[in-house]
Amino acid sequence: MATRIGRREFLAGTAGAMAVATLPAPAISQSKPVHIGLLTVKTGPLAAGGIHTGGNPAGTKTKTQELVERDHVDMIFGPLAAFELLAITDYAAQAKMPILSLAAAEDMTQRRPNPYFVRASATSSQNMHPLADYAAKELKFKRVITIADDFAFGHEQMAGFQRVFEDAGGRVVKKLWPPLVTPDYTPYLAQISGVDAVVQGFAGSNPLKFMKQYQDQGLKLPVLGGGPAGDEALLKSYGDEAVGMISVSAYTGDLDTPSNKRFIDGIVRDYGNIPGLYAAGLYINGMVAEAALEKTGGKTDDREAFIRALRAVALVDTPRGPFSFDHFGNVVGTFYIRRCERKGDKLVNTTIKTYPKVSQFWTYDEKWFLAQPVYSRDYPPLKS
């Protein structure tokens, strides 16, 4: 039933899109149907996520108010971009509106927590910590250059990579930040040399453009990528330039569980597309909502009880494997390191290492972690 939310029956709009989906209340309950508001982006470089809102914080806030005050939704799924989430978080907390978001902004579950917030996907760096561990310990890389979109998601990803990679003895020698809108990456590619590998943290359609130009430029260094870079939904758009790319994700298409199989089969049947990270994220949010509703008997009136139920959800068979939430409402779950391979005429990700029960704080002490500045463009600084 949760897949209904994935449908693209959104109201059209260039600034943002929203929709209200109705979940049939669980059978155990006689109460009214549950309404879920969905905030998403449909334009701009991020539209590849398929579930986005135009990159417009003011627009996002207006849409959120409509969902809360006019449509009286019981919870909101989305938004995707961090700045959109930051634009609505205070308002949503005031309205005691539970948000199940895929946005990765670190501080939403760290230094600026919102008690009504639940994130079953990952923080920006939660992906990158295990990837950095793998790069340093298994691949034995010593020196890397990072390159990512010049916005918060890129900054936080690369900072997380840098901390773990350098704590494991590696060194980030250069960090490149092309603007989110960059038609030609060559000026940056020309600066890449003298390292063991390149770590890219691009999102949306940018990873595709980057990899193509990387290959055209004749660069042969191994490429490591974040969740969006190796996303299953993007693989059909790649050519051979992506073969060999190692990426990390909270969701992997090759996870062999009954629920992942059901999920993929369902999406392929209904939409004819291989689903990726974002579709899986929404589907999993649906599972979380369903599990919480079962516990409250379908009631959402008592927001405090409902949010407690949401955060207490711990699932075993999901498309991303087993997970639970920490006391900030952020996921503690499995992360997968995959290598992109060609199988027949298709590209697929093959899991090469699994990191179970990864917390947003990695192996660091939570108090210590939170006492450090939030990950950013210049933190941790480059070692000279």
Partner: protein, 286 residues
């Protein structure tokens, strides 16, 4: 140092692509005084149409020409049905073309979905060519060559043919051109279609480098605007020089001052607008 050479060569290749994109914009603006904000959409639409053609087995170059033609037909319809009625009303033209660009973007999103689509590099041009001991993507070098060929062809068209003479007459003094019997109205349609074709063709040619995705239109339009403002509207030479200037500004700006990449790109435009509003090669407004 290698970095500088790589950047220099890449500046030329990006300049080539920008010329293909902006020559049409410049012609349309120079002749018809229409600031055509759908130009980026034409670029994107051409690329999208080509992906569909290629998926049906059409080869890359044919897809580029045909994709451009389809965009030209669409451009002709837009010009005949809409822009024609707004002659002289610049604000209305800006708003209409801007609105159209949003509509085109929405339709493209519906038809080709939000997933980026890759256009494969033609097989003959894959790989790298050695220039001064450094490898450069062959395809990019080919784009520069295509741009030069188009520059010469367009120059010949404008300078050596009857149609070109009529277009120039129309640019210089439309009222007088009408008086001497030039059908300026038909000329407008021809030029608009030609401009749209160039944009659509450029979109396909740029495809193997940029791929196609929602928002590509909005990325390319400002570059075309900068080129035309720098070079001067209605001037082919202006477009050519402007394209290469922007190619260099873009490459060296992003490599040397990444934080100020847009400042480096747009500051020269502001200076030109203030100091020499007609652009480097444009003629001052009468």
């Amino acid at each position: 140092m290698n970095l500088w050479l790589v950047l220099a060569v890449n500046s030329v290749t990006l300049g080539g692509l920008l010329f293909l994109l902006s020559a049409g914009f410049s012609l349309i603006f120079g002749l018809m005084k229409i600031p055509n904000l759908t130009h980026g959409s034409f670029f994107m639409l051409g690329a999208y149409l080509a992906t569909s053609l290629i998926a049906h087995g059409v080869d890359f170059w044919t897809a580029a020409v045909v994709g451009g033609l389809l965009v030209a037909v669409f451009g002709g319809i837009v010009e005949r049905l809409i822009l024609r009625r707004l002659a002289g009303a610049e604000l209305a033209q800006v708003l209409v073309t801007l609105g159209l660009s949003f509509m085109i973007a929405d339709v493209c999103l519906m038809v080709w979905t939000g997933d980026p689509i890759r256009i494969a590099t033609p097989s003959a041009l894959r790989g790298a060519t050695s220039v001064a001991g450094l490898g450069f993507p062959t395809y990019r070098l080919a784009i520069s060559l295509i741009a030069v060929v188009f520059a010469v062809a367009l120059w010949a068209l404008l300078d050596r043919t009857r149609l070109g003479a009529m277009i120039r007459a129309g640019v210089d003094d439309p009222a007088m051109a009408r008086v001497v019997g030039i059908r300026v109205s038909r000329l407008f349609t021809v030029v608009f279609c030609l401009g749209a074709w160039l944009a659509g063709f450029a979109g396909v040619i740029g495809g193997p480098i940029l791929s196609v995705y929602p928002g590509l239109d909005g990325e390319m339009l400002p570059l075309a605007l900068v080129v035309v403002i720098l070079g001067g509207s209605g001037s082919l030479l202006g477009s050519l020089v402007g394209s290469f200037v922007v190619g260099f500004l873009y490459n060296f700006g992003q490599a040397m001052f990444p934080e100020l990449a847009y400042v480096v790109l747009f500051l020269p435009m502001l200076i030109v607008l203030v100091v020499r509003p007609q652009g480097l090669f444009g003629r001052p407004a009468a």
